[in-house]
Amino acid sequence: MKLVYFAWIKDRIGLAEEEVELPAGIITVKDLLRWLRGRGAHYEAALQAPEVIRVAIDQEHADHSDPISGAREIALFPPMTGG
């Protein structure tokens, strides 16, 4: 599965995107965020306040409770500031 990061989440993780193999038991966005935080200090710094993290599954906004099964691309980003 492809993960893509934007803005300060990208800065803190130090990557714009990566391919990951998810372990069994990762069902929802929330599970994914918890698993990512355990991958090291950079991830912990980026995701320490998961409630502010916005998520898109295959380029559509998603909730933290949404299942991620079948997703090709999941994006994590802070609240948007365009317009």
Binding site: V4, F6, A7, W8, A56, Q59, E60, H61, A75, F77, P78, P79, M80, T81, G82, G83
Partner: protein
Amino acid sequence: MSIEPSVSVQSGRIDIAAVTAELALSGDVGGVVTFAGYCRSEDGKLAALELEHYPGMAEKEIGRIAKQAAERWPLLAAKVIHRYGKIAPGEEIVLVACASAHRAAAFEAAEFLMDFLKSRAPFWKREHLIDGTVGGWVEAKHEDDTALERWR
């Protein structure tokens, strides 16, 4: 049948005059409302805004918002252009233009589009300052979220 809005995500400047003229072409158009958002100078402290975006999703999400507007109001034409990359103070960042037979629909649709773009379109601003430093990422405003509530 609602119209098909036109969406562009681009790094280059926006030709506001050309867009407005294009939208007014149909003989049924009674009014065109445009909103152009500009990069402020922040009292001369700002060298540029950098706009990061999510290529692919940016176009799709703006398209979804614009389609909602076209279904909700009797628009004759709608166009949204959003820039990314480095934008200098005084330059335009975004243009929303809505044409309708009567003015109320065009005004409401343009406000709706801006409210949703602000909090749903995947763009993030960062400040580059005159002294050469790169400022932090601009924080989202709570009022931009509450602005959505009136459209429910």
